[in-house]
């Protein structure tokens, strides 16, 4: 790879996407700092420092992936998938247990959540499967094949248990099928069957999950227990008002009403909304919309179906996490432990999503020439 080649790739990159990514990363570090702030005299929790490190590591993976030709993933897809499934099995066997779930593997001294990478691997395989030229997509069997591809990681992740993360695979798969051109009729029938089966799913939920759903329906059901986070998050967001209380001026997390364990992670959006108000919350939404547009644009100009579906898959994954997390924060969806992409504190998802965006960038760089 010579210097000219590098220059050519840089010139063809989507700088709007890079702008959006950097902006979100900066906001993330800023508000993880704020979430760790305990008043003037107290030391700030050090999460933000590690988040900066994760952002740099993520940036490295992003650039590396962008320079790599995404078409090489087509051959590696199944290998990646098998490795990911192997890691998921390993988690269940030797994973580190925290908060009653086995989600973490210790690799080279680092805590890694294989489920985040498994989602990425699954969507690469789905892209390969649906992207092969000449596939007869109006054959209903194809749908079931796609569902089997995501079904294996789904079940393995549910077993950890981490229903929220596992559940993300389903809408992502549907969005990819939709983009690939699977007849709407088939998808609607399948979605209908899925909805009909939903009530039976109730019996598969753990007690805490049932509680979360019940609390979603009626937050005052257990205001000091399961309903606490939802109520406190609502108060944080609502009391932010139009323009917010100002950076570091939010009280909900300083005073601990927003539990300190979730403020920098799942409920980071609530900290942002309290301190920056409607204006800041809307800016964040706009940045995500911009990032999603970059993914869709990459899909539109992709030189082949595999690239297009990769971009759609990553975009969908990003959208699903962002939407579910924000909707949960403002009380539109039950509480699920999903991170807010690029913002929430945490390494695995950060690296996974940065790799994903690197793939999209790679697709864009190698776009179809007019």
């Amino acid at each position: 790879m010579n210097w000219n080649h590098v220059r050519a790739i840089l010139a063809r990159m989507d700088w709007i996407m890079i702008f959006a990514v950097v902006a979100l990363l900066v906001i993330g570090v800023m508000f993880i700092y704020s979430a760790g702030y305990r008043g003037e005299d107290a030391p700030v929790a050090s999460f933000y420092e590690r988040q900066m490190l994760w952002a740099l590591v993520g940036g490295f993976f992003f650039i590396s992936t962008a320079f790599m030709d995404y078409r090489r993933l087509r051959d590696a897809a199944w290998w990646l998938y098998f490795v990911a499934m192997l890691l998921l099995v390993l988690v269940l066997l030797v994973g580190k247990e925290m908060y009653g779930a086995r989600r973490w593997l210790t690799l080279f001294g680092l805590q890694v959540q294989p489920s985040e990478f498994a989602k990425l691997a699954a969507l690469v395989v789905v892209a390969r499967f649906l992207g092969r030229p000449g596939r007869q997509l109006d054959d209903p069997v194809k749908i079931f094949q796609v569902l089997s591809i995501v079904g294996v990681p789904f079940l393995l992740i549910v077993k950890e248990p981490d229903l929220g993360t596992a559940a993300m695979l389903i809408p992502v798969a549907f969005m990819m099928m939709f983009a690939a051109g699977v007849p709407l009729k088939h998808m609607l029938i399948l979605a209908g069957i899925g909805l009909l089966l939903m009530p039976f799913g109730w019996f598969l939920l753990g007690n805490y999950q049932k509680e979360r759903v019940l609390v979603f329906l009626n937050p005052n059901r257990d205001p000091l227990g399961a309903g606490w986070n939802k109520i406190q998050s609502g108060i944080a967001v609502g009391s932010g008002g139009f323009s917010g209380k100002g950076y570091l001026k939010g009280t909900q997390n300083v005073l601990g009403f927003l539990p300190r364990t979730v403020a920098p992670t799942d409920f980071i959006y609530s900290v942002i909304a309290e301190e920056t108000g409607f204006v800041g919350s809307a800016i964040l939404l706009f940045l995500y919309a911009l990032l999603l547009w970059s993914c869709v644009r990459a899909a539109l100009v992709a030189r082949d179906r595999f690239g297009r579906l990769l971009a759609v898959g990553v975009g969908s994954l990003l959208f699903c996490h962002a939407f579910v997390n924000m909707a949960m924060t403002i009380g539109l969806l039950p509480i699920t432990g999903l991170p807010l992409p690029l913002i929430s504190y945490g390494g695995s998802f950060m690296v996974a999503i940065m790799i994903g965006l690197g793939i999209v960038q790679s697709v864009y760089v190698r776009r179809y020439h007019e």
Binding site: G39, A179, G240, F242, T251, L255, R308
Partner: protein, 606 residues
């Protein structure tokens, strides 16, 4: 061709997919708008409700002074041992912290050699209701315990000495009924309680402490505290400094009060000294009394029950809350009524054979051998009952009733005490209402010697005596002269108030006053035992029968004033279960006057 079509449909699907995503973001945006812009204030209120607490800070209670500036009700520092629970917080459930604090208190109790004053339950209540405030494990401990604490436990985390103001009454039992006492103020009901953390505060429970509670208590301050999720104080948002209460300047003279208290001793009864020139209440004794310091900082249940169950009723203020038949001390009223209404003259004379026949009813004079012929002055000197039966009948009930009413009988004096009864001045209407019977001559005879249904309070008698002393001004008793602030500046003053002006003719009042002078000064006057050598004074004794006739219980009364020509003091003494006014009450009056005049002389010399 097929390829391109497929592509364009895929492009369309991608755009639809992006459109859907944006649409869902718009759903989020509109929810944010609803929560943050439209509903923001509601959430803001919720936020304040859960994280901002108001703490009430009581103001220092005002003091009470006598007319010479002696402090009768003061505040003294009381040493408390405080534990700051926040500093001892253990992670996890509160019960662990409570256990730790409980163990600490147990250990301190052993080291300081003082018994525990609080239970684990008290600690638990404190953690729930006023966590940011110091928890007082011991209140009002002595210097020895404080010294032991300083020696052994300084540097112990969370333990500190806390000084609290406690009410103190330097003169203990003196004027106990008038001053009253304080107790822990009741906390208002939870609904209208604007303070989350309530500092128990002293409120007046009786006497002036109760009546002037609003003045003495002052204005509590407050502090806004932001607390975190565990209730710990995070920061103070605002503070309003409490204002100290105002002081009361009484008309009471502690020296006179003590003289009167000594004179009456422990015997159940009452004594009042007023200044006849302005109605100032110089002394007010109701015996037996109680020690006000028993109530500070809080009275024990045992002592309280003891006071409540004591048959001599030490908690009752006999001066204002006790109604007694005035007996012969009422006779001057009858004389005044008869003279003023031209039913009699100073020369009107009746013969006393020792008894009086009302129809077929024989009514005896207290002097069975009979007083013989007496004129009006002599009738007072000897307190002849027969004279007053006949004078009363000659005068008729109506004028007596009006004269008595004009002198304040049957009506509250409006003295500023927390409880006063009006006594009872019977009338025809009253008798018809209560006994379904009209007024009869027998009733007139009874009231003429201060018996029957007639009841008066010692304070009424004092003001009546003062009106006789000053020849016609019935004052409202003045207890409080002024309310002053911390700098001694008068905030409000209470000038003397005249309740009624009695327009007696000069002859009328001279006759009655001279008769009363003979009571004390004449060698055979019924009140001669009250006489202080060298002092020209006047008075009237009374012996009233109370309860059932068979019990033979008697109240001994005496009203008196001196010096005769320009009276400085009017005194009333009432003793329950005495022998007679002349033998039981008169010597007490003498005690009071001799001390009063001796101390006046001393003051004059100085």
């Amino acid at each position: 061709m097929v390829f391109r079509d497929l592509f364009s449909e895929e492009h369309l699907r991608l755009r639809v997919l992006y459109g859907l995503m944006v649409a869902m973001f718009i759903v989020l945006l509109s929810t944010l708008w609803r929560m943050q812009v439209i509903g923001g204030s509601t959430y803001q209120t919720d936020l304040v409700r859960q994280s901002v607490r108001r703490v009430r800070l009581p103001g220092m209670r005002g003091r009470i002074f006598d007319r010479a500036g002696r402090c009768l009700a003061d505040n003294r520092p009381s040493y408390c041992i405080a534990i700051y629970l926040e500093e001892l917080r253990k992670p996890g459930a509160w019960s662990r912290t409570i256990e730790r604090v409980d163990a600490l208190i147990e250990r301190m109790s052993a080291i300081l050699e003082i018994p525990r004053q609080v239970t684990a339950e008290d600690i638990r209540i404190h953690t729930r209701r006023r966590l940011p405030l110091a928890f007082l494990a011991w209140r009002d401990v002595d210097e020895i315990a404080i010294a032991r604490l300083a020696e052994n436990m300084m540097g112990e985390p969370g333990v500190d000495i806390y000084i609290e103001a406690v009410r103190a009454y330097p003169f203990g039992r003196s004027a106990c009924h008038l001053l009253g006492y304080v107790g822990r103020a009741e906390q208002r009901s939870v609904d209208d309680e604007p303070y989350h953390y309530y500092l128990p505060e002293m409120g007046g429970k009786a006497g002036l402490e109760k009546l002037f509670d609003g003045v003495l208590r002052g204005e509590p301050g407050g502090r806004l505290v932001r607390v975190d999720v565990s209730g710990f104080r995070y920061e103070d948002l605002a503070e309003r400094v409490p204002n100290n209460g105002l002081d009361l300047q009484l008309a009471l003279d502690l020296e006179i009060q003590e003289i009167a208290e000594r004179a009456i001793g422990d015997h159940p009864g009452a004594a009042v000294v007023v200044d006849p020139q302005n109605g100032d209440l110089l002394a007010m004794v109701s015996s037996p009394g109680f020690d006000l310091n028993d109530f500070a900082p809080a009275i024990s249940a045992a002592r309280w029950n003891e006071l409540l169950q004591d048959e001599s009723r030490p908690l009752m203020n006999r001066v204002t809350a006790g109604g007694y038949p005035p007996g012969s001390t009422f006779k001057p009223v009858v004389a005044l009524a008869a003279l003023e209404n031209d039913k009699a003259t100073p020369q009107t004379s009746f013969n006393c054979p020792g008894y009086f026949m009302l129809g077929r009813l024989r009514m005896g004079c207290w002097y069975a051998r009979g007083h013989g012929v007496l004129n009006m002055e002599q009738s007072l000197e000897h307190s002849c009952n027969v004279y007053y039966f006949r004078l009363g009948l000659q005068c008729g009930f109506e004028p007596i009733y009006h004269q008595a009413a004009a002198l304040g009988f049957g009506k509250k004096t409006d003295i500023t005490v927390d409880y006063e009864i009006p006594g009872l001045l019977p009338s025809d209407g009253w008798k018809r209402r209560t006994m379904n019977d009209g007024w009869r001559d027998g009733d007139t005879c009874n009231i003429s010697i201060g018996q029957g249904a007639l009841l008066a309070t010692p304070i009424q008698m004092a003001m009546y005596a003062a009106a006789l002393a000053n020849s016609g001004h019935l004052y409202r008793p003045r207890v409080v002269k002024a309310i002053t602030d911390e700098q001694g500046k008068t905030v409000r003053s209470f000038p003397p108030q005249i309740a009624n002006e009695l327009k007696w003719s000069a002859t009328t009042i001279r006759t009655v006053r001279e008769g009363m002078r003979d009571v004390v000064m004449a060698p055979r006057g019924t009140g001669r035992l009250a006489g202080v050598p060298g002092v020209n004074m006047a008075g009237k004794t009374g012996t009233a029968e109370v309860g059932r006739k068979e019990d033979g219980r008697k109240l001994a009364w005496m009203i008196a004033f001196a010096p005769y020509d320009n009276p400085k003091y009017a005194v009333v003494v009432m003793v329950e279960d005495g022998v007679s006014g002349g033998t039981t009450a008169a010597p007490i009056v003498k005690d009071i006057f001799s001390s009063l005049l001796a101390s006046d002389k001393k003051a004059g010399d100085g």
